[in-house]
Symmetry: C2
Subunit: 159 residues, 2 copies
């Protein structure tokens, strides 16, 4: 088994900082991160497609490729996946549409993204930095933290 850890060096001397969390809790941290990574890119695609439709009227693969700084082949392949997942509909050589489910995901992702972005700005982070940080952070923020961020942002607005 894995209760090996405990036995050898009960409390090594001269170490600073917090203790290690219990194994199960520690494991849960990394598992949560791996789970987030599984859906992260899909959420970003769906969110971007939604944004392109809202702001530009349509979402084309080339625009996605440019905005993501990725090759068109990569986008094409991902679109097939989104299709199989039931998140977008697409006819060959035509622009993209979100399914019901895709629209729901886009809306959720965008809301979350906005909360994080506005929070960072409220904290005093420069806009372009806030955008970069938010793009990554958004996928690792729990509902609990999200709520607290939102509350904080609102408080800053009305002091």
């Amino acid at each position: 088994m894995s209760d090996h850890e405990q036995r050898h060096t009960p409390t090594p001397p001269g170490h600073s900082g917090d203790a290690l969390p219990p194994v199960e809790q520690h494991a849960q941290q990394y598992e949560a991160v791996r789970n987030a990574h599984e859906t992260e890119l899909i959420e970003d695609y769906v969110e971007l497609i939604g944004d392109l439709i809202r702001h530009r009227g349509e979402a084309r693969a080339a625009d996605i490729a440019n905005r993501m700084a990725v090759s068109q082949a990569t986008v094409s392949k991902m679109i097939r996946r989104l299709n199989e997942l039931g998140l977008v509909t697409s006819k060959p050589y035509r622009s993209l549409f979100l399914t019901e489910e895709g629209q729901k995901m886009a809306q959720t992702s965008r809301a979350r993204h906005d909360v994080v972005l506005h929070f960072l700005r409220a904290l005093g982070v420069d806009d372009s930095t806030a955008r970069i940080d938010a793009e990554g952070m958004e996928h690792h923020v729990s509902d609990e933290t999200l709520t607290i961020m939102q509350r904080f942002t609102e408080q800053q607005r009305t002091p």
Copy 2:
């Protein structure tokens, strides 16, 4: 080229929310996230190895596997990679050590991790949630944001 976006639908009607950022800036967001993902796991391994050595006196592959909730084969493979990257030294069937460079990375990663964790707690996030969120967020927080988080945490401590 890719200035296609501008031409077709100048300003589609009835959309809410912020405008899309310029293409180059938008692309930079996603690129930054991809870059972070490249080093993320390596940082987590090195940080954990450092923590195990500090708290337990040694770092063994089985402990890493347990704490990461990953198979021992996965750990073994990753250790070879860390070796090739000059971050750890290891003799077969023996426990692990960090190189100079590995120690530097462990220290930096841990410091960053702590700032994020303490910040979340100062914000009012529950400890176990804060730990989960911090594990993912830490890799997507810029130095600028990190500094601001640290300042915020200190202010909370001395009101």
